[in-house]
């Protein structure tokens, strides 16, 4: 076995040293009736070349060579080459959680930089070292709001990603946290009057997404006013992180829960991604997840450590802010490198290209005869169209031209009929937009 650094004679010498006759002596604690007599029924060992061939075969015909208009919570952005060359360094990807800071400063400093950049982009004071993803992060943010307010109800906008809402439902069910949903208005934004009615003096947190699932940018300031008047906390979820290059950050929010996949993380059929939570200084002790802080060593030299761990499960056990332990450190590193490559000017330029492409596509689709839904709200790189033809049928035709069409909304919003959600990023070519426009007219 090529991963095992022992010869048969090594094993014999070691067994002798231990005083065991055979390896089975070391498994004597397992009652004989439960010991496996034969081999596991799995395929024989493959050579490395066979493994590569198998996965190449699995990869064939998928994604490669297609133009895509899918967004809906997972975005196709160009990934600078330096990301993979750096995260492929074994010093990063074969290290563990930095519990021994003297030999983990690389990971610790990079997380500190990640926390800082997330703060800069979201306008919050403090960000954690990452969460599993945007969906679980949103659920954890609502639970955090409940701890902070001592209240128990949550209000969630129906324009929040439907899969996020499903996860929230699962998490909230046994926390004694009833969840109510608030509808969207004609322009696709949260219906403010419905929201106002939906919040009462037992509401802990209100969750909106911006840009929301339909691509509309919410009026976070107006929502925050309503929420704060009732003494509740506002959580803003951001699924398309690149939007922060050009869209005003949700500074009026109390907690920002982000999915940072757009920052250089491969689509990877849905994961691993990178959730992250940010908030105000005063709320930090109720925030879940690991945190890195700056300190000094015995010689007065700057260094970084995991800190405020009294919030966490290994200390607090059943009274912890969350059961979360593993996070997404390596994926957060990808995000950090992406944010650094683009930086202060590049994130703006990148976001502007996204804005231009989506604006052009929406215009072309409209010209071609599709109806634009939710007009009137500002949007970033996603928009919704209504077509006469079934959205799946349109996508079938486009697939023949090696174009993956927009996301059919009837899966989650049956009321919206043939409506579909289209996304354009900097990678979407004008030629693909023009080709797709021809089909949506039908």
């Amino acid at each position: 076995m090529r991963y095992l650094p022992k010869s048969e004679s090594d094993r014999e010498v070691m067994l002798r040293q231990i005083g065991a006759k055979s390896i089975d002596d070391l498994f004597a604690a397992i009652p004989p009736e439960y010991r496996l007599k034969g081999d596991l029924k799995i395929p024989r060992a493959y050579a490395e070349s066979e493994i590569v061939e198998f996965f190449r075969d699995c990869a064939t015909g998928s994604a490669q060579g297609y133009a895509t208009f899918l967004g809906a919570g997972a975005y196709s952005h160009y990934r600078p080459v330096v990301i993979d060359s750096l995260v492929s360094r074994g010093e990063f990807f074969t290290a563990y959680t930095p519990y021994q800071p003297e030999i983990a400063q690389g990971t610790l400093q990079s997380i500190f930089e990640f926390q800082t950049m997330i703060c800069e982009l979201t306008g919050m004071d403090v960000a954690n070292a990452s969460m599993y993803d945007g969906s679980t992060g949103a659920a954890e943010a609502l639970m955090m709001a409940a701890r902070l307010t001592g209240r128990h109800k949550s209000v969630v906008a129906s324009s929040v990603h439907p899969e996020y809402r499903e996860v929230i439902t699962t998490y909230a069910r046994y926390q004694g946290m009833p969840i109510s949903t608030v509808a969207y208005s004609k322009n696709g934004r949260v219906d403010l009057s419905a929201l106002e009615k939906g919040i009462d003096n037992e509401t802990a947190g209100v969750l909106v997404q911006s840009p929301n699932f339909f691509g509309a940018i919410e009026d976070v300031a107006a929502i925050a006013d309503l929420v704060h008047k009732k003494g509740a906390l506002l959580i803003v979820s951001i699924a398309e992180a690149v939007s922060l290059g050009i869209v005003k950050p949700p500074v009026e929010a109390d907690i920002v829960s982000m999915e940072a996949q757009s920052f250089g993380v491969p689509l990877g059929f849905g994961g691993p991604y990178c959730g992250v939570m940010a908030t105000h200084d005063k709320f930090v002790r109720q925030m879940p997840g690991r945190l890195v802080g700056q300190t000094l060593d015995r010689n007065g030299k700057r260094g970084f450590v995991l800190t405020l761990s009294t919030r966490e499960q290994h200390i607090r056990r059943e009274k912890a802010t969350s059961n979360i332990c593993t996070n997404q450190a390596l994926v957060a590193l990808m995000c950090s490198i992406f944010m650094t490559v683009y930086g202060r000017e590049g994130l703006k330029d990148l976001a502007k290209q996204n804005l231009a492409k989506a604006h052009y596509a929406a215009g072309e689709f409209k010209k071609a005869g599709a109806t634009l839904l939710f007009e009137g709200a500002p949007r970033f790189n996603e928009f919704v169209i209504q077509t006469k033809t079934d959205s799946y049928a349109i996508n079938d035709k486009l697939l023949g031209q090696r174009i993956i069409g927009g996301f059919p909304l009837k899966k989650f919003y049956p009321d919206l009929g043939n409506a579909s959600l289209w996304c354009c990023t900097e990678t979407t070519a004008k030629a693909s937009i023009d080709a797709a426009a021809k089909q949506v007219a039908l």
Binding site: M1, P5, I30, I42, L86, F92, I103, E113, G271, L355
Partner: protein
């Protein structure tokens, strides 16, 4: 430096400032292609929602980015450097072919909502991994959706809850041994259960008599790590299962220590109803400095209807697809299908091993732990003499007579070129020294570790103050963690703002 130190020597280590301290206006590391559609005016399209500026985001060049992160990386210890014997974390070798296949374009660039017609390869990976993990655990069904071990625990306990609810009574509490990981009680609380502590007996195992006394109709499940955190196999595991089942409660197994069992025995065969696996422990997916992980949950037939939605199914036309029509499902625990990138790597690992390779892996892991146990007995106190499997727990009892604690020995081990073992866990052992070498260590590397630990034991006798000051050879000395927690600095700020505050 102690002349006896064989594994390492000092070398030049580059200093590196924070990214923000390297930034200056006008430097850049990107170039966008020319826009092929008309330019837009953000102020016009976004109005009041347009962003004005990006604050202190860095501006640096590409070469500086490469040097920055490369320098940072050299400050880390990693499995690629050598033995990383963190007990309960299973820091094994991360095969490179796993990384290569996970980055194949057709998999890395697959959108989770792309049509099933062009996702057959990805679905095949999910299906094959599911089937093989079911065989390895001896269970009947599985979900790959949970993102990590603790997330798998939550999913598993929610499965128990959904099942018991379907019978009419979700029950009130979950039993957890005092040796358990902190995630177990935190999980039970998140699933709405009260936590009741179960004491271990003198051998470090579940005490059957106490268990019988504690299990009643209020108990939903026992969460048990097997082998437990002392590295001890619960010999009476089948009796434990019987006691629970007789009262209608279920047995949850924390699979964190599955590296001691694969190919030798199967939890499904010895009475476990539901368990999670840590693909980033047993199945070689990299720890990545803290994540991502992946925590599939395998279960018995009775729990299958409640698994998270969707599940992979073979459709009437023979193609694979996702089934969302699961009326009894506990719901979703994560968007999309879980950490697919980790599923690819775990499958590649299982394929590289085959049945005999997996068994040999387990045997070598247990062999290494026992070899180290034998080598260190006498030099360090062994609080539980029960046979251990893939990890061994010593204590600092002998060294603490000289005022040296497990944490100090760990710091000195750094000077010898090793990553420390797990410090102060499990809580049932005072001053715990928890060592898990994994199968990835050769005999020579185990020997070198034993030698280092013995040298440190001698140093404790002769120069305890020297050990107390360790590490001596790292780029920074011990950090002031109290200061970090008392006045948290959790982000960089420009000098002017930092002072102003």
């Amino acid at each position: 430096m102690n002349k006896k130190i064989r594994k390492v020597t000092t070398h030049i280590s580059q200093n590196e400032v924070l990214l923000f301290e390297r930034s200056s206006a006008g430097k850049k590391a990107y170039e966008l292609p020319p826009l092929d559609v008309p330019e837009v005016d953000p102020a016009k399209l976004l109005g009041a929602q347009a962003r004005q500026d990006l604050g202190h985001m860095p501006e640096v060049s590409e070469v500086e980015i490469i040097r920055h992160f490369t320098r940072l990386s050299t400050w880390n210890y990693a499995v690629d450097h050598g033995m990383y014997p963190l007990g309960s974390c299973t820091m094994k070798y991360n095969p490179r072919v796993n990384e290569a296949v996970a980055r194949l374009t057709g998999l890395a660039e697959a959108h989770p909502y792309q049509p099933e017609r062009i996702s057959q390869g990805a679905l095949r990976i999910l299906k094959m991994l599911s089937e093989q993990l079911i065989e390895i655990t001896g269970m009947d069904a599985i979900t790959l959706q949970p993102a990590a071990g603790a997330h798998g625990e939550l999913t598993g306990i929610l499965l128990v809850r959904a099942y018991l609810e379907s019978l009419g009574n979700p029950r009130k509490k979950v039993l957890i041994p005092d040796s358990a990981h902190g995630t177990n009680p935190a999980t039970a609380a998140m699933a709405g259960y009260a936590v009741e502590n179960l004491k271990s007996n003198a051998a470090g195992m579940v005490d059957i008599a106490s268990l019988v006394a504690q299990v009643n109709e209020d108990v939903a499940a026992l969460m048990l790590t097997n082998p437990n955190t002392l590295g001890v196999f619960e010999q009476e595991i089948h009796k434990i299962a019987e006691v629970l089942h007789a009262k209608g409660a279920l047995l949850y197994m924390d699979g964190a220590n599955m590296n001691a069992l694969v190919g030798k025995t199967r939890p499904g065969d010895f009475g476990v109803d539901v368990m999670h696996l840590n693909l980033h422990k047993t199945f070689s997916t990299p720890h990545g400095g803290g994540g991502p992980g992946s925590g599939p949950v395998a279960c018995k037939k009775i729990l299958e209807p409640f698994l998270p939605s969707p599940v992979v199914v073979t459709k009437p036309d023979g193609t694979l697809g996702f089934d969302y029509n699961r009326p009894q499902s506990l719901g979703r625990v994560r968007m999309f299908y879980g950490n697919f990138g980790m599923h690819i790597r775990a499958l590649a690992y299982i394929m590289a091993n085959g049945p005999d390779g997996l068994r040999q892996t387990t045997e070598d892991a247990v062999l290494n732990a026992n070899y180290i146990r034998k080598g260190l007995e006498g030099a360090y106190d062994l609080p539980y003499k029960t046979p251990t499997m893939h990890e061994v727990v010593f204590s600092d009892h002998i060294q603490s007579q000289k005022g040296i604690k497990t944490g100090d020995i760990a710091k000195r081990l750094i000077d010898y070129g090793f990553h420390p073992y797990t410090v102060s866990f499990p809580l049932v052992v005072h001053g715990a020294i928890m060592i898990e070498p994994t199968e990835s260590e050769s005999k020579e590397s185990c020997d070198m570790f034993i030698e280092a630990m013995k040298d440190i034991a001698e140093e404790v006798e002769e120069h305890p103050e020297f050990v107390l000051e360790a590490p001596h050879n790292t780029r920074i000395s011990r950090l002031d963690e109290t200061m970090a927690a008392r006045k948290p600095i959790l982000r960089w700020k420009p000098q002017s703002e930092a002072v102003g505050k």
